[in-house]
Amino acid sequence: MTSFHPHLLDRRLRWARAIVWGAVAVLVIAFFRAQILEHSKYELQSETNRLRPIPLPAPRGIITDRNGKLLADNVPGYTVSLLPGNEDSLRATLTRIAPLVKLDAAGIERVLARARRAPYLPVTVLPGARFEVVSMLEERRLIFPGLLIQPEPKRAYPDSAMIAHLVGYVGEVTEAERGQRRYAGIRLGGLVGKDGLERAYDDSLRGADGVRFVEVSALGHVVREATRSSTLLPVPGRPLHTTIDLDLQRYVAEIFPAGHRGAVLAMNPNTGEILALYSAPGYDPNAFVGGVDPDYWRRLNASEAHPLFDRTIQARYPPGSTWKLAIAAMALRRGLVTLRTRMPIPCRGGLQYGNRYFHCWSPQGHGSLTLTEAIAQSCDVYFYQLGLKIGLTSLLEDANSWGFRSRTGIDLPGEITPEFPPGTEYYDRYYGPRRWTAAVTLNLAIGQGENAQTLVNMVRFYQMLASDGRARPPYLVHPSSASGVSLNLASDQLAALRQAMISVVEQGTARGAARFGGAIAIAGKTGTAQNPHGPDHGWFIGFAPAEKPEIVVGAIVEFAREGPYVAPLVTRVIGRYLGVDTTVASNVRIVLPADTAPHAIQLLPGVPSEDSLEIPDTVRVDSVRPDTGHAAPPPRNR
């Protein structure tokens, strides 16, 4: 029987058909599974395969002064980036692109490191590219797969160094910052405020980045824009209206003695609005846009003058004689004296206390003075006695309750806490129990000793004097909640103190800084801060009009030797603000007596020398601003 008998063939045919049907069934099931059951999964994979998200950076909100003049603006700029791809192709493209964007080998590695951190986002190669570079790259676009050039608003500060410490600057968000909740939503390479208002109000200035999708080919070339509907437009940052008076700010920057270090702070005493905030030397915040040049960054950090440092809120100075108003206010509040009270011992150039002789700044002596006269003459001997009359415990108590140991809460980042003893136990701890005497009171009474204040804190105290005695937290945009701090002085006592300060300007230590043709009365107080490292620092804090103050201005100039030299600066600022002819003031010859408070005295034998006596020198660069990220240069933005 042949094997090709029809009956046998039919049997095999059935088998063969079964195999065909079986195979087709398996394939149909496989396709059904992939195309119907798992369709959405593969649809998504297909999208992620070919769609690349491209962040649309939100323009930061503009910052304006109180009259709407621009402090920080956005100008058109371009960002050059590469679409994500595998590392080898990125490296190849970067190597080719490097000469055009001036990227060295280390720069390429930095870009690749960024690409590894966010493998699905375009990696920024050159932020803030100039137009020439962009057009050069555009011409060669075909040979650079995945090249992405997009307009990105660029921050610009028209007034540059004049407002540097006020507005701060922006920079790329760091890895550490991205770990914080506040910056959680920011993409890698996004910009955040690093200092000043930019940092303080980053949340509202920043806006929200949008995203668009482009379709790419398997080789990484952008083929086309994906459909419009999937684009999420960026939400621009909200504009920030500040209390700053830009004209005044500029004026301050102009008249601040060139080459000197110091700070000026102007404030409305009735509201706490900051009108001008200037710290010298400044820096160019524009230089930080798009990544700071490492050389510039090194220069800023290496400079003796520490330009990044905001001397209005980040430097502590011994308040010197400006402190005497605080002592006077304490004595008045406690009812110990009136403005006409004289001290038992008249000034003969010094005061014997215990086994020590405490000098007055004036070796000839001031004779017997009333409180008003003592304020005007800044007589140390009077205030030694007044301090002893108040007593150390009460003095510390009042100073603490008036906020000389706390931050003002100004809405700028990095404000440091003033130094002041919290109570007598401080001395116990410092010198040991019963190893110190009430002589510390004498130093404290004239603004020396264990007392170092920030400019903003001293201005806030004078604001209380200049207003109804209640503290108004200084602010640039939003006041912090009221502290409830008050001098608790009657209005006539405040008026009397102001009158005494007018006499400072008219006859006293700041004589000649004076009135502008008698138009307004400026009240103020000089101060000289001991500086063991060089010439003393000069203070002046004043307000005007004395009867109903509208502005309080504090200034400190490092190494100015004495406060009186600072007074004209302040009075000119006040004059400018109140619309008084300052040309006259600038012509006034400034004749001022020396106002040097005595050097801090070694109080007890065997106690550490004065240098270690917590006499704060000007700026403690190493101890301040740990939270602003200045310790290390920000990663260069590429």
Binding site: T2, S3, F4, V20, K41, E43, Q45, S217, A218
Partner: protein, 415 residues
């Protein structure tokens, strides 16, 4: 007697024309990418090949099976010689430069001889098997057909093109089956391959040996047969690992990628993943003809040859796939019907061999695009671009048409 064209088997012609049209349209779409490549105009060439194929099919329709049977040994000899030449002079295909599967003379690429050799092997096996009056019942009787297949198999495997080589094995088994060989015998013949695959797990291999011993005891072949089968399995188990090391890296990767495509998606698994993404994203109705994004953006590799079926899946969806599979199934069933009604054993075996060839290509090619089977570079009949295989398919169809006409002449009624 010359067969008139009007007595041609119309269902077969209809299905083949439909498949050729579908395939040409898909190839046209495969060329519609965002960045134009040489693929864009490839369908013109395929159209020419289709015309050549049509002429070839008509010519084969005119050739009597007797003449074909007479010419078979010569065709086989030519096929083997050409394969030898290819091995010595061959060029790699575009993607795998170390592969010598193309024959070119004076820079002119003449095609892939392995495709033509498949046809030659089918004819030769048909002739040998038809010449015997009874089906093979012992392993010894399988040595000769085995050798007939082994020669081209080895020559192709050495190119190295294991995927195409395995098609010869599939043809051998199909034709032995159709010749009436008992399934037990086929299983014993194939058992060394199973042993080879299972050798990668000692436990599985041990179990397989136990099962094999049981089968041998049950089926009671000749002692020496049982002994050689056991020996072959043990040897396979031993040489499996060295054999694995001998495989070219791309062959290893293809097998590994089949097992786990996600392992290294950019390298070995890329093809499968991209293909599956394209098919899966197609859904029920697809992205629309020529609009498949994966294909357009060049994510889909070899979209005009090996992975052309993924274009169908992506653009025409599950419905398009069903239509294609239905056409393929119809083709296979028609061929089976012709093989069944053939007037003589040689014709019947020829047509069944062709059926096995087409079946293998369809299942393997379509199966790999959805990761049901490992990737091998064998083309999809009537879809993949390539003249050699299209010509082979056309000639095969021509033979089947002639066989169908012969049986119709001898009294089989047309359904």
């Amino acid at each position: 007697m010359r067969p008139p064209l009007r007595e041609i088997d119309k269902p077969l012609v209809g299905v083949v024309v439909a498949l050729a049209a579908y395939g040409l349209a898909t190839l046209y779409s495969a060329g519609q990418t965002d960045a134009s490549t040489f693929v864009t105009t490839l369908w013109h060439k395929q159209l020419v090949w289709l015309a050549i194929g049509a002429v070839a099919a008509v010519l084969m329709f005119r050739v009597s099976p007797r003449l074909l049977e007479w010419a078979t040994p010569y065709a086989y000899t030519v096929g083997v010689v050409v394969l030898l030449f290819t091995l010595v002079l061959g060029r790699g295909a575009a993607s795998v430069a170390t592969e010598r599967s193309w024959l070119s003379i004076a820079g002119l690429r003449l095609g892939e001889p392995s495709e033509l050799a498949k046809l030659a092997v089918i004819l030769m096996l048909a002739r040998w098997l038809a010449a015997r009056r009874e089906a093979p019942v012992t392993l010894r009787e399988l040595v000769a057909p085995g050798a007939l297949v082994a020669v081209p198999f080895l020559l192709v495997a050495l190119q190295p093109d294991l995927g195409s080589a395995l098609v010869f094995i599939s043809i051998l088994f199909a034709m032995l089956f159709w010749a009436g060989t008992k399934p037990q015998l086929l299983l014993l013949l194939g058992s060394p391959v199973i042993g080879l695959v299972l050798a990668f797990s000692t436990v599985a291999w041990g179990l397989w040996i136990v099962v094999l011993v049981g089968l041998l005891v049950w089926w009671r072949p000749y002692v020496w047969e049982g002994f050689s089968v056991m020996l072959a399995n043990v040897v396979m188990g031993v040489i499996a690992v060295p054999f694995w090391r001998r495989l070219a890296p791309y062959q290893q990767n293809r097998l590994l990628a089949f097992l786990n495509p996600q392992e290294d998606p950019r390298a070995t698994g890329w093809h499968v993943i991209q293909s599956k993404i394209a098919i899966g994203s197609g859904g029920l109705l697809g992205h629309g003809f020529t609009h498949g994004p994966q294909k357009r953006l060049a994510f889909l590799p070899a979209q005009f040859t090996d992975f052309i079926f993924a274009v169908v899946g992506e653009e025409l969806g599950f419905v398009g796939v069903l239509v294609a599979l239905a056409l393929f199934a119809a083709l296979l069933l028609i061929l089976l019907r012709i093989a069944r009604r053939a007037t003589d054993a040689y014709s019947s075996l020829c047509v069944f061999g062709v059926t096995g060839l087409v079946f293998t290509h369809i299942v393997e090619n379509v199966g790999m695009t959805v990761n049901v089977l490992p990737i091998t570079g064998i083309p999809l009949p009537f879809f993949s671009y390539g003249g050699s295989f299209l010509l082979v398919c056309s000639v095969a169809v021509g033979i089947a048409l002639r066989v169908a006409w012969e049986s119709r002449q001898s009294g089989y009624a047309v359904l």
